[in-house]
Amino acid sequence: MTTMTTELPREKAKSKRGVMDNVMAQFNTAADRINLNPNIRKILKITNNEIIVHFPVKMDNGDMEIFTGYRVQHNNALGPYKGGLRYHPTVDIDAAKALAMWMTWKTSLAGLPYGGGKGGIQIDPSKYSQSELERITRRFTFALADNIGPEHDIPAPDVNTNSQTMAWIADTYMSTRPPAERTANQHVVTGKPDGSGGLEGRDRATGYGVFLTIKFWFERKNETLEGKTFIVQGFGNVGYWASHFLEGEGAKLVAVQDAFGSIENQNGIKVEDLFNYTESNNGSLVNFPDAEASNKDEFFGTECDICIPAALGGQITKDNAMTVKATLVAEGANGPTDVDGEKILIERGVTIIPDILCNSGGVVASYFEWLQNRNGEFWQLDEVMPKLDKKLLESFNKVYEYSEKEAMDFRTAAYCIAIKRIEKAYIQRGIFP
C-alpha cells in the first residue's frame, strides 16, 4: 500500500483534465472572494491521503490477476471522508483527486458532517464475470482495510458500481470486524440495497433535489411551476425523476434528449408515457409517437422556461450559450456548464442553479442512510422525503441569501459557503500540534 500527499496541480495537463481545471478554478475564484486564510488555502489545495493498493484476485479459469485500486481522501475537517468508488480503465490518482476535492465542497455546502473522498479500481468490468467482480470487490475492500470505515471514510456507488457492489463491500468489511462489532459497521458504505440497510427513496433523491431547487427558486420570485415549460438532457434516473416531480406541480416537459436522439413537443410530453416507451424501446426515446424528432445540435436552444442538463459535463459552452432560451438552468449533471458558457449565461441574465447545490439530493440521501444504519433505525419513504425537503431548503436559502448579500452568482456563492464552513472549523480547532 502506498500513501502520498501531494498538491493538486493548477495547470497540469490542462487540455485533457478539464474536470480538475474546473474544480481548481472554482475553488480559486471563491477563495479569492472570501479572502480565504492563506494557511487554510494551503491545506485545502492538497489532499490529505492518497492510497494506492495492489491486490491479487483468482479468476474463474484459475489464473491470478493483480489489480490496482485507489482511494483519495481530500479533507475531513467536517467529518468522515465521503465519495464514490468507480470501476473503470481510466481511474487513476489524478482523476480521483479532482473528484475527491469536489466532494469536499459538495458535502460542506449540504451542511453534512462529511469531508470529501473518491476512488476506484482501474478495471474494465465488462471483461469479468459477476463472480470475479465480487471477488475483486471483496479483495479491494480487504486491501483498503482500515483506510475506510463508518466513522472514517464512507464509499458509495459511482460509474460501474451499484448497490450490489456496496453490499459486497459492507459484508466484507463487517466480516473483518470482531464478532460483536460486525452489525455496528453496516454504515461503512451507503447506496446499499434496501434489504441490506439501504434507504427507501434513494433512487429518486437526486432528481427530487433538482426539482426542489427549481421550485424554491420560483417561490423566491413569487411564482409557481404551473404552466412553466422545461427541457431535460438525459432521461436516466435524475432526468426522469426531476421531470416526474416537475410535472406533478404543473410544469410541462417540452423536449428531451438522450444518447439516441432528441424529441420536442411544445404542447407537452407526458413523462410517464415517455418513460414507459423508453422501457419498451431498449432505453431509447427515438420515434416516441407523441413528439417530433428535433435537431440534436440545437437542443439547448429549444424554447422553454427551465433547462435541465442532467446527463454529462461540458454541454453549455461559448458555442451554444447564446442560444439558450431558458431563464433558469438547473444543473442536474456534474459540470454541464463550462466557464465560458457560464459567463455568457450570466451576462444574459440567465440564472444557474449550480451542480453542487442542484444535484446534492443524492449525497443528502446517503447521509440519511448512514444515520439510519448508525441509529439502528429503518426510515419509511414518507419520512425520508420531508427530511430531504428540509435539508435542501436550508442549502438553497443559504446560497440564495449569500448571493443576494454579496451580489454574486449562485455558483460562487455556493463555493464561498462551502469553503467558509471548512475554514471556520480549522480556525476554531487550530492545527495540531
Binding site: 500500500m1 485533457k16 483534465r17 478539464g18 474536470v19 494506492i52 495492489h54 491486490f55 491479487p56 479468476m59 474463474d60 479459469n61 484459475g62 489464473d63 490496482t68 473503470h88 480503465p89 481510466t90 481511474v91 487513476d92 490518482i93 489524478d94 482523476a95 473528484l99 482501474q122 474494465d124 468490468p125 465488462s126 471483461k127 469479468y128 464475470s129 470475479e132 486491501a143 459511482d158 460509474v159 460501474n160 438532457q233 438525459g234 432521461f235 436516466g236 434516473n237 435524475v238 432526468g239 434528449q257 438522450d258 444518447a259 439516441f260 436522439g261 432528441s262 432505453g283 440534436k296 442532467a310 446527463a311 454529462l312 459535463g313 461540458g314 454541454q315 449533471a333 456534474n334
Partner: protein
C-alpha cells in the same frame, strides 16, 4: 503508474452513436452511460501460458 485519459466514453455501448456530445474524450460522468456488453469473462479467455518453473506461493498484503 500509468496515466490515463480520464474518460468513460470508450467503454460505453453508445459511444459510436451517442448524440449527446462530440467531445468523447473528456466525459467523466454521464447519466446515459451503459457498459459495453461483451462476454470476456475469464472462463472464455485463454489461460495464461505457464512456464516450466515450479509455482511459487506468494503472500500479498
Amino acid at each position: 503508474m500509468s496515466q490515463n485519459q480520464f474518460n468513460i466514453c470508450p467503454t460505453c455501448s453508445h459511444q459510436s452513436t451517442c448524440v449527446l456530445t462530440k467531445h468523447k474524450n473528456q466525459v467523466w460522468a454521464c447519466s446515459e452511460f451503459d457498459e459495453k456488453k461483451t462476454d470476456h469473462s475469464s472462463e472464455n479467455r485463454p489461460r495464461e501460458q505457464k512456464g516450466t518453473e515450479p509455482k511459487l506461493e506468494i503472500a500479498y498484503t
